[in-house]
Symmetry: C2
Subunit: 178 residues, 2 copies
DNA sequence: ACTAGATGCGTGCGCACGCACCGACCGACG
DNA sequence: CGTCGGTCGGTGCGTGCGCACGCATCTAGT
């Protein structure tokens, strides 16, 4: 906090971590209490609800969210157990699997979404003018690499999350597969 | 995505969830690979490093982060096992416990912090002008309730996270302690 | 047609974390 | 001085998720 970051950087970065973390806690908590679903589950239901024929491939759901394929697989599994979606094999690709929204799933999602949207508006959107929201949207695009500030986005090869360790063994011991 | 949120709201809120989520994944991943610590561990080390006498109470560390006390207790436990901090009972309060930064902990943190800061600058801070960073900081304050847009921040009583369930049983069954 | 590699999905395992609870302890009050 | 409610930190248990891997399937090359 002293000479690592400047004051401005602390305010901007630390503020992002803190404020946004607290905001998400509030919102996820509300989602759980009111609708009994996690944010990941909500997102999957949302994609399905607006997908053609109310169905989507697991990998597409994964790509559209922040989850890995295996994580998405489990989310779908939970939703299946809850009766909100059903699995269906893909005819055009024997390996593939669709998640299909059920009637109960759609209904539950619409209820949940109403409350969720209301809270997001109250906790976040309502605090900014339209011009500011526009600006925020532009900021997110910049972070994502589009709308480059310096370098021209060198093409993302794949989605990789912590693969090879280069330095410093994990704190708890237990290296991958030794 | 259609009539739940307006386009602008999707861009602002969805952008926050997506862009910021991906940003955090990149940064946490880097922290793990290069320094072998999680973001929570990093934050605890940071607080300790800039604390007087390099020590802090567990509850203060918890209050300063997004973790609960129990979570903080485990983070400290991991750091102890790694040799980065030591525990010490509080003389002034028999219940209390201090986490104290060791020499190795300080050194490791400084190395980690250098790389971490560099990445945060590259991935986030460098994409904005100083004026924009200032503005972002102001936005975070607004989200946090200070600098109110409407209501005058009604005082948070405690830190509560998902206590009583009001609606919709958890998806997986298993209500709390029945 | 056969085989080698790639790809989609599911699963075993491990980790991080929250909640509920416990024992130790503090402070106030009778 | 004893008691009693509140607080501190730690622990048992459950959950969500990622990684490594397995199986089934697709695709291309021979």
């Amino acid at each position: 906090m002293n000479d690592l970051f400047t004051k401005l950087e602390v305010a901007a970065w630390g503020g992002l971590v803190g404020a946004q973390g607290r905001l998400f806690l509030r919102i996820e908590d509300d989602l759980r209490r009111k609708s009994g679903i996690t944010h990941a589950e909500f997102e999957v239901l949302l994609r399905l609800c607006f997908a053609t024929k109310s169905r989507a491939r697991i990998q597409d759901l994964a790509a559209a969210s922040l989850l890995t394929r295996s994580g998405t697989s489990r989310v779908v599994e939970r939703l299946v157990r809850a009766g909100y979606v059903e699995r269906a094999g893909a005819e055009e690709d024997g390996r593939g699997a669709y998640a299909v929204l059920t009637k109960a799933g759609r209904e539950h999602f619409l209820t949940a979404a109403g409350q969720h949207v209301a809270l997001v508006r109250r906790e976040f959107l309502s605090k900014f003018s339209d011009a500011e929201l526009e600006q925020l949207a532009a900021f997110w695009r910049r972070i994502d690499g589009h709308e480059p500030p310096k370098d021209p986005a060198p093409r993302k090869p794949q989605r990789s999350r912590s693969t090879t360790s280069t330095t410093a063994s994990r704190i708890k011991g237990r290296r991958r597969r030794e």
